[in-house]
């Protein structure tokens, strides 16, 4: 998704940095090989980026300017929850859901381009006050969830899967808004997606609430 944008804008003082939040060693490698991106693609088994930047899902992104200042805090990056209306057997989306999904992606990519070319003059670049208002400040439980998650991932990697799993479950309980944490434990189908019954049950339990957080961006379908 980002390669085309990166190719287009890499000579305009811009880079994409993708961070893979993956459950197990090597999970993301075949995907990276297949996409063969030329921007940095980093592996983050302990979800440090989610902890430090307040991300709760994928894809979420942060805009950082030339001086290392956050211009837009973590938010869904061109995602739309049309998949919730998917035919779960055929794995097909209704035409209008697919159209809105494409529109969300295009709106987001256009906004990034506008910011790269026009900087703070872009209507999509938040000034400091607005950026601050969009920060997701963690609660004490969220901070505790992140330490539990790190311990769980560390133990799992060291072969202590049973105890590791308990910590991961604890993390998800403390930070229920984080799909990243929950999906670490979710079943993975042959398609590589956590689209097992447990996933759909959790999505359905959202009811009127959103799977991807609302994005405050002009033209973004909600």
């Amino acid at each position: 998704m980002w390669q085309t944008l990166y190719e287009e804008l890499k000579d305009r003082n811009f880079t994409v940095i993708a961070v893979a939040l993956d459950s197990r060693d090597g999970d993301s490698l075949p995907w990276i090989e297949a996409a063969n991106p030329t921007y940095p693609c980093l592996i983050d088994r302990e979800h440090r980026v989610a902890d430090l930047y307040g991300m709760v899902n994928v894809p979420e992104a942060v805009w950082i300017d030339e001086r290392g200042r956050v211009v837009r805090p973590a938010e869904p990056a061109g995602a739309y929850e049309g998949f919730r209306r998917m035919d779960r057997v055929k794995r097909e989306m209704p035409a209008d859901a697919a159209r809105i999904t494409a529109e969300a992606k295009a709106t987001y990519v256009n906004a990034v381009r506008d910011w790269v070319l026009n900087g703070m003059a872009s209507e999509h670049a938040f000034d400091a006050e607005r950026a601050r208002a969009h920060v997701r400040a963690p609660t004490e439980d969220v901070a505790r969830a992140h330490v539990a998650f790190r311990l769980g991932q560390h133990l799992t990697r060291c072969g202590q899967t049973e105890e590791g799993d308990r910590w991961l479950r604890d993390a998800s309980r403390l930070h229920p808004d984080s799909w990243c944490m929950w999906r670490q434990r979710a079943g993975v189908t042959e398609l590589g997606l956590a689209s097992q019954p447990d996933f759909w049950a959790r999505v359905d339990a959202l009811g009127e609430r959103k799977y991807y957080a609302r994005v405050d961006m002009k033209g973004m379908p909600q």
Partner: protein
């Protein structure tokens, strides 16, 4: 041997000694792992010092060692350890994370790529960066 995961590193401390929920380290080990040390003003890192309440010194310091878990609790930061207490995570407090996020200063981040080469976000200063998460699931 105790493994400690901090905000910035994973470090093995051969002289670490566990006693229940206490993690006794030498002062040098604590400072090496976390940047915090014990001074006459209290517990300090850089310019920041948090006093130890009078009479409670014994809760933190004993026979030249310092209880990292007690220090962490006193600083209001989350700490957890594995059942066998061989792995500890010393985390950051929600208030600290929140104030960093509100400062709008992009937090420092160093991660490996698929070939194991480390990348620092700060090495891209001077460019606009789209920092984006994804996953194979």
């Amino acid at each position: 041997m105790v493994t400690v995961l901090t905000d910035t590193q994973t470090i093995e401390l051969p002289a670490g000694r566990v006693e229940g929920d206490r993690l006794w380290l030498s002062e040098a080990e604590l400072e090496n792992a976390t940047g915090w040390s014990s001074k006459k003003e209290g517990l300090c890192r850089g310019d920041v010092c948090v006093p130890i309440p009078p009479g409670r010194e014994h809760d933190f310091l004993r026979e030249g060692q310092i209880d990292a878990a007690a220090v962490w609790g006193h600083l209001g930061k989350p700490v957890v350890h594995s059942e066998d207490a061989s792995v500890w995570v010393l985390g950051e407090a929600a208030t600290e994370r929140a104030s960093t996020l509100r400062s709008l200063e992009a937090p420092h981040l160093t991660l490996p790529d698929r070939s194991g080469r480390m990348h620092s976000l700060s090495s891209h200063r001077g460019k606009k960066v789209l920092l984006v998460s994804w996953a194979s699931w």
